[in-house]
Amino acid sequence: MKIWDIALMAVHNLWSQKMRTALNLLGVVISSALLLMTFAATRGASDGVMNIIDSSDQTRQFLIIAGHKPNTTVPASATEVKGDLDPAKRKRFEEALRKKWIAANARRVYMTSDVLRQLRAIDGVASIVPRSALNCKLSLDDRSTSGSLVGISLKDQSIKFRLACGEIPASEDHDGVLLDEYTAYTLGYQSQQQLEELIGKSIECLVNLGSKTPKAANLLRALGPAASQIDLTTLSRFSSSVEQLAEKMDEVGLTQEEKDAVRLGLKQLSIVAPANSAESTEKSALASNADTSASERKPNERSFIIRGVVKRPSEEEGVGFLQFTGAPRLASVYINSLEKEPLNFQRSGFPGFFTAAGEVTRNDQLASVVGKLEAMGLRIRSAVAIVEKLKEETGKARLAIGALALLILLVAALGISNTMIIAIIERTPEFGIMKSLGASDGQVMWLVLLEGMITGILGASLALAISIAVAPLASELCRHYIELRLKSSFNQAIFTFDATDILIVFFLAATVCTFASLLPAWRAAKLDPVVAMKR
């Protein structure tokens, strides 16, 4: 007997017992439709979340913070916790001690020009922009104002949207800058037409590279980790004492040898800068208090050409849903970061940048790039963990709801198995006749199994048709509800029917129904034809 003929016979049998078939189908349809809809809804939800994530620039961005040299071995003695403690507590304390030891002893990894070069060479990295601003004096025509100079990435799309006129400088344009609209205003350029006139003009920039006077910040850095042991007031006082010592070296009663030793020490600790360089820092709270009188400046003068004028970002524009890089920096003049960095590195004792904003080309590169940066000892803030978590959570939700629907399908299977057994008992004579005509056990078994399998496939097909028909309506209802709750419009698709999900549902329905008919099929196959026909 050919399987096709058995299948036809099975279809005939199902058709000839419409009531029973309809009952079984109902169970399969309800559970398959539930399964399909939950699959579609969870896929819709996870696709929606992923769309939001993928369409967001913020999942391509990350913040880099200076860290410590990785794989530093901490001596066991440093983390030893004495006393009778419960193991969990001991562990916490040991971890705290370990962190403290690393902060005090491990070599710091700052973003030096070497490190920056390495970072930019990493596959997938689109841009790295150290976060720092340099104070400067700007002169245009016969007016001047004080302002700040900030590095940007020329690939940064957000700055493009802020252009009031002109364009972003080309990458080979070493002098091209963007001017802030308010700075333009203070320099006398107010109307849009006046702003247009600015394009191509040159602007003089006197960059403040810091004071030669040693400052608390320098001391702080020289002291390194030890600085954390001293409170700020003491440090500030200590700092001014050292400054005084450095300045009034000749007035103190030290021998020439002693003075030389102190000078050398201070110099090596960068507390007293070499004659032509000094520094300020962007990280220290103390730095902002530092005095920077004009007479002590060692200026660096540059002439830039204005290529565009940019608007100030509004507060909301500044920070996004998954943004880790912080709000964009405000500045008077924006310049290609690669042009600005050498100015920072000119400052003596500058250990390298402390923070930087990075961006990868595609968001699927984020995780691997972040991994590489962390391996270098840098600390990274990014959406990687959040995106992973979101994917994991939507996956879990899918599984949980899918398991529930599967349970419903299994309960339906019990019902199907039950009606099938009853039907087999009713149809006992039929199977007896078939066997008397030469049907083998296998043929009878296959017939009943196929009846089950076809019920499953038919049920899943009906369920698919119903689900697709109902989805738009259900979608509207859900959308209405979601929009009410979100208090904003929601444009993501809610039900997404995926070929894999549909196949899974068909497979499950067919398998479950086939298994449900396994016992009835076996019963039918094992009937004694003589006894069966007497019924």
Binding site: K2, D5, L437, G438, S440, V530
Partner: protein
């Protein structure tokens, strides 16, 4: 040719159960038309079921189609029923939800014949038993005589060498019964098949069989071979 030896069938336990068939030896030559007579309960049906491979004897053996029947696997016995035996039952035993065509077609489906050949064969057989006009009717829509003709068509559709009929006319009025019997004898003659016909009609046995066996309490009490029957 069928050769049965020392066939015994006991219902219930071996010592004090009912001996439906009691140590029978039987040799049926190809082409013989055997009438099996005997009162109700004498063991005719039991013997027929054993010959058909539907039932197993408690002891004894049957050599049919050159094979020892009860040493075959279940699948092989199924194949024997499919290819070597056609059975006509007293109560027709048609499948209620299948039409005449579909009932007659069933043995051919089981043997794996393709649809085109099947249709031709079924049409021939339905025509042969003069029931073409009922081809799309289900058993419930047919008279007893019509149903039995469909059952005969089903029994001969595979052209089996052995046709077994267990009181095929028992449920029919005498006029219809005669027609059905005649039909069966005709098709057996055409197919050159062996016939075992269970009946309690002495005259029928006389007129249509080449051999008459009387059964009582599971044994043969007489076994006569006639000259060529007049049928």
């Amino acid at each position: 040719m069928i050769h049965a030896s020392r066939l015994t069938k006991i219902y219930g336990d071996t010592d004090n159960g009912v001996k439906a068939v009691d140590g029978l030896n039987l040799k049926i030559e190809s082409g013989q038309r055997v009438a099996l007579l005997g009162r109700s309960g004498s063991g005719k049906t039991t013997l027929m079921n054993i010959l058909a491979g539907l039932d197993r004897p408690t002891s004894g053996e049957i050599i049919a189609a050159g094979k020892s029947l009860f040493e075959l696997s279940p699948a092989e016995i199924a194949h024997y029923r499919q290819t070597s035996v056609g059975i006509v039952f007293q109560s027709f035993q048609l499948i209620a939800h299948r039409t005449a065509i579909q009932n007659v077609e069933l043995p051919l489906i089981l043997s794996g014949m393709n649809a085109a050949n099947r249709k031709q064969r079924v049409d021939e057989c339905l025509e042969r038993v003069a029931i073409e006009h009922r081809r799309h009717h289900t058993p419930a829509q047919m008279s007893g005589g019509e149903q039995q003709r469909v059952a005969i068509a089903r029994a001969i559709v595979s052209k089996p060498p052995l046709l077994l009929a267990d009181e095929p006319t028992g449920n029919l009025d005498s006029l219809t019964a005669d027609k059905v019997t005649q039909l069966m004898l005709d098709v057996v003659a055409e197919n050159k098949a062996t016939l075992v016909l269970i009946t309690h009609d002495q005259n029928l046995a006389k007129t249509c069989a080449t051999r008459t066996i009387h059964m009582q309490d599971g044994r043969f009490i007489s076994d006569e071979i006639h000259a060529e029957a007049t049928a």
